[in-house]
Symmetry: C2
Subunit: 326 residues, 2 copies
């Protein structure tokens, strides 16, 4: 189409959902789709579902996937963008080994594909287009199943040797709670939704009363989703409140520790739980940070992620190099 802007595709590949977006050059979402991540099969099945979701989003924007300037994928696991592979994405079915996700998607979608780390692209989205726009240095905190982090320093992502910003595994309590990662006392062991669910189940086994699992069943869920937690908190469920306060304390200590290392200008809080619980919990995390923050006389800005659920997919689209009009 004459004079038309180049559209880019973005995929946020998560353990529970695949979110696709078609994004224009100004960062506006012009099409989107979301589907559950397959829970059985293997990487090829996940790749098929990604392609189908990308096609749905593209249809919404009235384009073919093959006319996209490119498709970016924010993925869990270990990314090798040179090789196009994703390795050991343990929340995805049968994805213990290495899979050439780029080749699979380029074949099925007919557009160039770039792959990045899910949390890094979500951080970049908030930095370029969201709450992070006013800052040159920031920490993204993605509070969901786990607690992921992303770092921007002097306007550029800091990735270290590929495993920087693993803030979920900052140790907030030596000899503390077991973390799903196998370590002890990690921030994620207290604040990650997966760890919180394990803890809630243990408490119930010990005879603790809670509405959490009843709400889960009512909502047709098999896990304690962010919505389940939010509803239980709204109903003043004592166990939910106690575990959430514990999570906030750990987030406060772990995020403040990270800030004591980085001294960035801002903290942007996103992720499933962060977005669902919203501004009141941003305030709670800020308060929980303060006792551990070294430069407490001039704390960083602490803000809710602005791009919401779509941040990951929008950020993934930014992996596609800007190109001439399609």
């Amino acid at each position: 189409m004459f004079g038309r802007m180049a559209y880019r595709g973005g995929i946020d590949l998560g353990g529970t959902k695949i979110q696709a977006a078609v994004v224009d050059d100004a960062g506006n979402v012009v099409g989107q789709a979301r589907n559950p991540t397959p829970t059985t099969g293997g990487p090829a099945d996940v790749a098929d579902e990604i392609a189908a979701t990308m096609r749905e989003a593209s249809a919404g924007a009235d384009v073919e996937t093959s006319s996209l300037a490119g498709i970016g994928v924010g993925s869990p696991g270990k990314i090798d963008n040179e090789a196009g592979t994703v390795t050991g994405a343990k929340n995805l079915p049968g994805w213990d080994g290495s899979f050439d996700l780029r080749a699979a998607l380029e074949h099925s979608c007919g557009a160039p594909v770039a792959i990045g780390n899910d949390v890094d692209v979500a951080t970049d989205a908030e930095f370029q287009l969201g709450s992070g726009r006013p800052y040159q240095s920031l920490l993204g905190v993605f509070w969901g199943t786990g607690v992921g982090g992303g770092i921007i320093l002097d306007g550029k992502p800091w990735l270290g040797r590929g495993a920087a910003a693993e803030i979920g595994h900052v140790c907030v309590r030596m000899g503390g709670a077991p973390c799903p990662c196998g370590r002890e006392g990690c921030m994620e062991a207290y604040a990650g939704r997966y760890a919180m669910e394990l803890r809630a189940r243990r408490e119930v086994e010990r005879g603790e009363k809670t509405m959490l699992f009843k709400i889960m069943e009512e909502r047709g869920r098999t896990r304690l989703t962010s919505g389940v937690w939010a509803r239980a908190l709204d109903r003043d469920d004592a166990l939910a409140q106690r575990l959430m306060e514990r999570a906030v304390r750990a987030l406060g200590a772990g995020v403040a520790s990270t800030l004591n290392v980085l001294d960035v200008e801002a903290v942007i809080i996103g992720g499933g739980l962060g977005l669902r619980l919203g501004q009141p919990y941003v305030e709670k995390i800020r308060e929980a940070m303060m006792p551990h923050l070294f430069a407490s006389e001039r704390p960083p800005a602490v803000e809710l992620a602005e791009l919401g659920d779509l941040g990951g997919a929008i950020g993934a689209s930014l992996l596609v190099k800007a190109t001439a009009a399609a």
Copy 2:
């Protein structure tokens, strides 16, 4: 002198000692002197002692301080290099307010003066001239009275908004030991020599037996210096061993947490205790890190600081811009 290289002066200003060095363009120390830091008086007295120590070091290199290309000072407290001031250096006598250290030293030494943070310059020295030479990113850990940190990323210091790398105040235990800083559970609350001495004194009050204070008196000290700790450990003093194991565990957790954020190539361990206890404790810290390290399949190099006691003064000399031959 015809063709002579420019010499630079460097001062490491500490709470117990003032170390001066004269350094040539290749980073070699050609003169040095050390004096105790005044414990009474005020900033002007400290500045006089700095100038005297710099003169001694210069005499050893057969130069006048006024012929130095410049003098760099690595200082505690809050540095304003624009204004030349040091503010709130609480380990120095009567230095709660602000003092124009640059003007005082330029007057007494007759050479241009630059001031930097003590730990940052020590990190830069190890990066440019010491154990950090092979790396482009590293974490300096200065284990002494407190636990200071310095960060190099992509070959450049990362200072944040001026308070980055405060690794001593990474929280390793929520609700944990009181830190001299007033917070709880900081790495420094377990591993800083000052906090360790407070703890040792409390244990003695509770009836614990130890040789620590006897050794201190024998050595004519009023504090548990690094040498006192080393001697007590050599004699298998149970309290010294227990407190040192506790310190190493905290260092392991706190340094690993910092690495989980930064994912740098190397950790360089210096500081009074780090240097005195040396390679065996570098190994102990490495071991204590591993259970908390996220990227444990490819841990960073962990090395002892190579420039030893002179690192701070050499690093301070690097604050002086390279100039034409004097």
